[in-house]
Symmetry: C2
Subunit: 373 residues, 2 copies
Amino acid sequence: MPQPCPARVGDPVDQIETPALVVDLDVYEHNLDRMAGILAGRDIRFRPHAKTHKSPEVALDQIKRGAVGVCCQKVSEAEIMVQGGVHDVLLSNQIVGRSKARRVAKLAKQARIAVCADNKENIAELDAAAKEADITLSVLVEVEVGGDRCGVPPGKPALELAQIIQSAPNLEFGGLQVYHGNAQHIRKHTERHAAIAEAARKTTKTVNLLSSAGFECRTLAGGGTGSLDIDLELGVLNELQAGSYIFMDADYGRNFDRNEAFIGIFKNSLFVLASVMSTPRNDLAIIDAGLKAVAFDSGNPVISSRTGVIYAGPSDEHGNLDVSDNNPLLLGETVWLIPGHCDPTVNLYDWYVGIRGDRVERVWPVAARGALS
Amino acid sequence: MPQPCPARVGDPVDQIETPALVVDLDVYEHNLDRMAGILAGRDIRFRPHAKTHKSPEVALDQIKRGAVGVCCQKVSEAEIMVQGGVHDVLLSNQIVGRSKARRVAKLAKQARIAVCADNKENIAELDAAAKEADITLSVLVEVEVGGDRCGVPPGKPALELAQIIQSAPNLEFGGLQVYHGNAQHIRKHTERHAAIAEAARKTTKTVNLLSSAGFECRTLAGGGTGSLDIDLELGVLNELQAGSYIFMDADYGRNFDRNEAFIGIFKNSLFVLASVMSTPRNDLAIIDAGLKAVAFDSGNPVISSRTGVIYAGPSDEHGNLDVSDNNPLLLGETVWLIPGHCDPTVNLYDWYVGIRGDRVERVWPVAARGALS
């Protein structure tokens, strides 16, 4: 059922079947190495988010450079990571329902697993599953620090959940999950800084309350690529979860501070390689990559291989390109797209095609593509 | 690499692992049967588009009820259809490049295959591939009848391409592809009718010109679910390509004439089944289906299982539901979503879970999920 790989190792780049998800390995390794360099010597753990790449092979590339493990959003993702050789996974999300709780507990017999919770019924489910599996499961309290999504409010509600976790016979309190997702893409650095600083204040307030009640937060986890410099400056978190830095995307490129802060040093390594399939007019070319080949939730992709060309809009299997420079695209010509948003774009593909220069050097599966449950 | 199936035949519906792509088989069969009923006795072929369902099993359900075969957009989709037992496929799209042209020609040795073209270089590629495979390949000219996408203008440019096809030693002219995609979702029936009638006029003009030059258009292919009644009324097309009718979606539901015309008789058979994973407030519930579980290009999904609840917005793995009726959702509660757009939603899943009443009756793969090339 997986689709055939669109290239073989050793192929010239111009023989890749399009559309394809292509990683420029030089840039990818630059991103991996720069993150390792930024974090080297700092008293902070790095647990990049695997929801970005959905690949144990990428996770192992990160772990080789100092990451302690990865985050996952879904238990199915975590299962694939563990099967692929990752020994330490934080489920940075609620895993709800008896069946999924059992899967978490089963996985915790094979690897170091922790999970987040924001609800006492869910904590009871996790406790029952841990009991059944005869393990002690580490559970973090997710605190809503500004994202208006999951999590309990800072302060007392978080303490109450920590107490419930601690009193559950088969669970242990692992700390706090305090991710502010919305803040990652606030365009202005000053405004992003203010949002992250407010989240940090809520976190500190909660940590102090927990501490005064005798709870140590071994893990204070959060952070993303857009807030990396700010999280490091504020120093509240002890475990960072940035994921997009390995690939970057057009939306991160629209953050205004790309050359001012850490974010400026990560570069686009991920592309959708497409081909021109129709050239109805000199100012219009149609490529073979539409809604099923690129994610559009964060805007249209950016054309990186040519100036004077804009991705005007998609349909299911087509992309309309506006050509404004009197230099029409040719039938069959390849076009390199920087996706608007890397995570859901990766999730559309079965294979990464890793290139170096003009050759395919490495191909590997998007093993957790479609891992939804 | 495919994900495990989220249910087994015989399971109660409330045991399906979420998120899951669920087909209500009673409604699905209603849609299949109603289309067969509408077309019965008419002098028109039906070749539904498989880009909607990406499943040879669905294709065979359609063929059993009178469809002559299916359309595909990609040669990879066509390969999977033929492998799954479909013997007649129209590639209703340009298939560009030597490698893909060869795949088309190879497939044409196993099944009845036709392909569309709008460019003489592409026609030369197809001819070379057909020669190499020692076959005669049927090629339709795609005419741009209003969609501002692929296709040559109506009239003389179409005739010129037909002549080029006919003079290519290994190709035969198969007719015209005249699909007006944009018109399918024009909200008002009168305006949609006008757009389709204009496309039909362009088609007729082209057919007459071709006829006066000695070219018979054996196939005049196009049409969609949104224009079904209009295409039948106008009687210009002899091969209909509607695909969405089997599933329908929230966007088709927003066409104003659902109870006036044929479109009103097809009902939503396709759902994303999701679960509540967090209940931060009485007026906010978070479900486990976000950008990777539903397509958002045609708007947010509609909640079909509850009134007073709106899908307010997605993030990668979460959906925020606004609850306005003081009847809060419960943790673990299942929520049924009607996707905004069926085609790209289906493409996110490995499995269909077919239910009848409160039981899972049939599970089958989305075999061409991710078939991009």
